[in-house]
Every structure is written in C-alpha cells, then in structure tokens.
C-alpha cells in the first residue's frame, strides 16, 4: 500500500476499520463484565479509548508482518487477526485459549497471525521487537514489525537500548508509543523531563513524529509511511500516537482516580475514536445507519460467541502445569531435550 493515497478510504475499508475498532471495544466491555463475574482473574488492562492506534497501525501491514505489544494487548491481538473466541478463552484461563490458558490477558500470543505477545515487564518487549526486525533482515525478507508500548516505557533503559540498536543496525521496526499521558497514576510530566516522546528519535538519528492517536486515519497514514520506509530502506521509526485511556489502569483502578479528574476523563471521551470515525464516515456518506446497525450486530454476535466458546472450554488439565517448560529437541540430539530434574515433592 502506498502512503500517499492512504487517506482516501472507501466505504469498504472505512467500515472495516470501524468494525475492528468496535469489536475491540465491545470485546473489552464484555471482558470487564466477565471480570466482575469472576470469570477472568489476575490483571485485566482495558484498551478502551485507544482502539484507533492498534487498528489504524495494523491496517497498514499484512498477516505475514509482525506485531508485538505490552500487557495491554487485547486490541493489538484482535486487530492482528486472532480469533476472538480463543482470545476470550485465554482470558478465562481455559484450554482453548491462545496460550492454552497459561498466559492470560497479559500474555496473548498467536503464532498463526504473527502476533508475538503480550509482555508484562514494562520496556521488555522493545528489544524483542528489534530482534524480530533483526531476523527479518538476516533472512532477507521484506516484512516489518510494529512494536506498541506505553509512555511509561520511555524512562526505562530498554527503550534507549532498543532504539539505538534498531537505528544502528537499520532494523525494520516501527516503534509506536501509545502516549495516553499516564503510566498508572503517573502523568507523563512527572516521568519524563522532556515529554514529547517523538523527539527522542533525533537522539538516534531516525525519523519520528507525533500523530493524533484518536484519529484512525491519521494513525494509518503515519504508520503506513514508516512501514513503507522500513520495508524499503530498513529504517526504524518512532511514532508517538497521542491517545487516552478511558478506563482505569486495570480493573483494580477506578477510571477517574486521584491522579486525574472526572472532568478530564469526560473531556477526553469527547475524542472517542470510534464515535469520531463513525460520524466522519456518515458525514462522508460512507456509512448508513443500517450499515452501522449491522456492524454493531455482527460485532455483538462475535463477542457473544466468544464468551460462550470460552465458557464451554474446559480448564486446562493439571498435567499441563509441567508441559511447555522445555521444548523437546527435534534435532535428534540425545538428551538435549531431557526433562527437567525430577520434582522434589
């Protein structure tokens, strides 16, 4: 896809993007319900409000390209094409989950669509993304990887190391910082001495830019440009998508907690990326009320099915506690796939 005509959306593409965003939204609203019901445990971080970033960005790449994200990963995983049923089953911790129930919400992986996780240590997956970019280049392929992370990862050392290595070795990685202005309760100006994240790109001599993360087409345009360059010139880029999370940090954190006001949250909700884009499509005559209703209905069905599927999926068998700790060697090396030492009682 060429970056030039990327803004020229037709009805089909427009509705597709809208539907993907809405799917994520409804999927997560349902997840929140399921969390309240105790069907989902642990940490559950909702992406609500940020959907335009994952959908806009991932719409610029193919199935064969890669994406990788932090723990706030439902949106990216769904946008990359994972089956919502298996995602929900993973959140439920069931056998048919993407990771057999072993990973949970923070560790979604889907090899079939090159979604590389789901990583819960802030900053940790940036070097992994560089590694995938390294492998692409090593094998002479023309894929790219999109690496999504929060503003909270910028102060971490691994941000710096990954930027420098990617820039130094010219790796096809597009780093997309989803700047929602908060890392848990820490507003960005309390975490960074210089808060325009995209400006870090200058320190590494790579392209960087800020983009309105509530505008799916703006994200799409910016990322498409970076993707094209990454494919062609193997140049990484740093894109700062300015966005906002409408909910709390996780289900344990109220949406308008001590660190931000109700007014601020309400104001930001006026920028709802889904409502904005729907209105735009309607205004441009690319979406009728009937089509909208159809999309809503389809999305609701997908989510309902996902819940039913997840709920019907059995718990993982207890033996699975000890599988997938090591992969047996396929190389025929005797012993190299030895089992772990015998369990002490």
């Amino acid at each position: 896809m060429s970056a030039e005509n990327i803004r020229a959306v037709d009805a089909e593409l427009g509705q597709q993007l809208l539907k993907e965003m809405l799917l994520i939204r409804r999927f997560e609203e349902k997840s929140a319900e399921m969390y309240a019901l105790g069907k989902i445990g642990g940490f559950l971080h909702l992406y609500i409000g940020q959907e335009a970033v994952a959908v806009g960005a991932i719409s610029t790449i193919g199935r064969d390209d890669y994406a990788i994200a932090s723990y706030r990963d439902h949106g990216h995983c769904l946008a990359k094409g994972a089956d919502p049923k298996r995602v929900m089953a993973e959140l439920f911790g069931r056998r048919d989950g993407l990771s057999k129930g072993k990973g949970g919400s923070m560790h979604l992986f889907d090899r079939s669509v090159n979604f590389m996780g789901g990583h819960a240590i802030v900053g940790q997956h940036l070097p992994l993304a560089a590694g995938v970019g390294f492998a692409i280049k090593y094998e002479g392929k023309d894929q790219v990887i999109l690496c999504f992370f929060g503003d909270g990862a910028v102060p971490e050392g691994e941000f710096h190391e990954a930027m420098n290595l990617s820039a130094l070795w010219k790796l096809p990685v597009v780093y997309i910082c989803e700047n929602n202005r908060y890392a848990m309760g820490t507003e960005i100006h309390r975490a960074l001495s210089q808060t325009d994240v995209y400006k870090f790109s200058a320190a590494y001599g790579i392209p960087g830019e800020a983009v309105d993360g509530m505008d799916v087409l703006a994200v799409r345009e910016s990322v498409a440009r970076a993707v094209e360059r990454a494919r062609r010139e193997k140049t990484p880029a740093l894109i700062e998508a300015r966005t906002y999370r409408f909910r709390g940090h996780s289900m344990r954190d109220p949406s308008a907690a001590i660190y931000r006001t109700k007014e601020e949250v309400e104001r930001e909700k006026q920028r709802d990326p889904i409502a904005l884009f729907r209105d735009r499509l309607v205004k441009d005559n690319l979406l009728s009320e009937m089509e909208w209703q159809t999309i809503e209905k389809e999305v609701t069905e997908i989510v309902e099915e996902a819940v039913i599927f997840a709920d019907n999926s059995p718990e993982p068998p207890l033996e699975w506690l000890l599988t997938d700790v090591y992969r047996e060697s396929g190389s025929g090396v005797r012993g190299s796939g030895f089992a772990d030492p015998p369990e002490p009682r």
């Binding site: 445990g41 642990g42 940490f43 911790g93 069931r94 990771s99 129930g101 072993k102 990973g103 949970g104 919400s105 923070m106 560790h107 990583h119 819960a120 240590i121 802030v122 900053g123 909270g152 990862a153 102060p155 971490e156 050392g157 890392a183 848990m184 309760g185 820490t186 309390r190 975490a191 960074l192 907690a257 001590i258 660190y259 718990e315 993982p316 207890l318 699975w320 506690l321 000890l322 700790v325 772990d340 030492p341 369990e343 002490p344 009682r345």
Partner: protein, 326 residues
C-alpha cells in the same frame, strides 16, 4: 495491643521511622500521589511531603541506583519495588553496587538502604508477575534478606531494616497485606534481623516455612495434631543472616524436618535450609530433610494450574508423613 493489618503495620513502621530520622525517605513507582499500588504508603505524601515521598518513573535500575548513591552520601533510603519481579531490572545495582560497595571501598561506604515490596505469587498474575526471588538475594554476600509473615513482624522487622547499616531486601506478600494481627504501637518496638521464631511448639517433626506457606503449614499442624502428630513450625523471618541455631535446636529435638517453600524448588531457599540442617544435625536426623516446593515451572495463569503450582496441604502432609514414617 492494637489490631491492624499487615499493610497498616508496614505503613506505621515507615511513618515512625520517617518521623524519627529525617534522613529516611521513600521512593518508588506510585508511592506518593497514588499512595502505593498496594496502598502501603497511604498518607505518607500528605504527612511528609514530596521531598521525602518520591514518585519515580519506571526506571528500576535508575532509581535503585539513586537510592544507593543517596545512601553513600549519608541518607537512609527506602526504595519500593511495586512488585519484586521488577527488582530483576535493578539486580545489577543491588548485587554489584549495594552489596559490594562496603567491601570494595575497604569499609568506607556502607549502604543503609531498604528495598521493599511484595514478592511471590498472588492471584492469577501469571509467569512474569509471580516470582519468588529470595534465593537470588540470599546468595549475595553483603545483603540481608527478610520475609516477614505477620503484621507484628512486618512492623518490627521493617523498623530494624531501616535502622540497619546495610542493604536489606525486604520482601512482603500481596496476599498478606489484608491480614490482621496485634501490633505493638511502641515506636521503639523492634524485631532484630536474624532471629527466627517458633510459631508452634511440637515434638515430632519440624517444619520450616515463611509467609503464606507458613500459614498453610499451621493449618496442617492443626489437622495432624488430631492424629497425634505434633508439628513444630519454625519461621526464619530473616533468610540472611539465617538463624541457624533456632532451626537446628528444633531439629535436634524433633529429629525430623520438612522445608515448605512456595517458589520453584531447584536451587531455591529450601535447598539451603535442607543442606545446612543435614550438615549440622546429621546424627540427630531420623529421616532425610524433605523439601516441599513449588513446581519447577513458570507460574501459569489458569486458576486450577496456579493452585497446583504451589504446594498443597496434601503435599505438605505427605512430606511430613514420609519423614515421620507414619
């Protein structure tokens, strides 16, 4: 004595020590405005202000290093790890700076620093958020390591840790924060580092356990009492320096020992405890020291697998029976 939660006990210890000594301050992610991810630092920002209650960016190695540097220059920092899993990112600072500066400087720079926060498994937090890291720290000369199991210990040991002249790794547990217990409100109430406690007297088998596992063992002990098996439960409280005497005295009395540990067993704390007991009390032992440990796997997310990962009461009972030959 006032009954307060483990969380409140920690909070009180911090408050008292910060009131007592202006050089004491606390820094970490979300400790100030947010009052702590687990609310341990509730109210501290209000009482002590932003100078002494410092919110940090997500830079574990960086702010741990800041703590160590500040300690070199005479302050007494308390660094909160939001959870101890993130301390791996700061491990180089802990191992190579905090633990060694006194030695490498020939005694010139001691590091009176406490690094504290919750560690170990909680509720379905999965592999990267459920690690028991105490054996890492315990292996490092120059560090002290504390695992406080009760509200009283939480207060008394944290206060001692803050007054200690050395780096102390103080690993709490998310699963205990809400637990209530009697806690002295005397601001000079201290529990020395390096003293184990016998949680329950018994004569047949010694079980060594701390934190959540200790409570599980206490329940097991109640159950087995009905069968006439008498369990002595020893809680080390401080893992380094380890109070080997209290443990050995108990074993010399019961002649049998089991170590119960939530973390993965291979090269874990239980290995050390089992090894020193055997080394020092071999002739008193009527059975090998048995370890009951977490499975040697990462922590799974699914609830049923998660439960199976940590030693169950059944497994503890089985181990006790095997050393007691009953």
């Amino acid at each position: 004595m006032p009954v307060i939660t483990y969380r409140e006990a920690l909070n009180l210890a911090l408050r008292e020590e910060m009131r007592r000594d202006p050089r004491v301050f606390i820094m970490g992610e979300e400790v100030g405005l947010y009052e702590g991810a687990y609310k341990v630092t509730q109210g501290l920002l209000k009482e002590f202000g932003a100078k002494r209650v410092i919110d940090t960016p997500i830079s574990e190695s960086g702010f741990t290093g800041v703590g160590i540097g500040a300690a070199m220059a005479g302050l007494r920092p308390v660094v909160e790890m939001m959870t101890f899993n993130f301390a791996i990112l700061a491990l180089d600072q802990i191992v190579n700076s905090a633990a060694k500066l006194l030695y490498m400087s020939g005694g010139q720079y001691n590091i009176p620093l406490v690094i504290r926060g919750p560690g170990g498994p909680a509720h379905q937090l999965a592999a990267q958020h459920s690690q028991s890291m105490e054996s890492y720290f315990c292996h490092v000369p120059g560090l002290k390591v504390v695992r406080p199991s009760t509200p009283e210990d939480a207060k008394g040991l944290l206060k001692s840790a803050i007054r200690d002249e050395n780096p102390v790794i103080f690993i709490e547990a998310e699963t205990l924060y809400g637990m209530k217990g009697e806690v002295p409100d005397d601001p000079e109430f201290l529990i020395p580092l390096g003293q184990a406690v016998v949680r329950r007297q018994g004569s047949d088998v010694t079980v060594i356990a701390y934190m959540g596992m200790m409570y599980r063992v206490m329940e097991v002990a109640d159950e087995l009492e009905k069968e006439g098996i008498s369990i002595e439960v020893v809680d080390p409280r401080t893992l380094r320096p380890m109070d080997t005497e209290t443990i050995l005295n108990s074993v010399r009395k019961t002649h049998r020992a089991v170590v119960a540990e939530a973390g993965a067993g291979f090269a874990g704390m239980g290995s050390e405890i089992a090894a020193f007991i055997t080394e020092n009390a071999f002739d008193d032992l009527d059975a090998p020291v048995e370890r009951v440990t977490g499975a040697n796997a990462p922590m799974p997310y699914a609830k049923n697998l998660e439960q199976a990962k940590t030693p169950s009461k059944e497994k503890i009972i089985e181990a006790i029976r095997s050393v007691a030959y009953v």
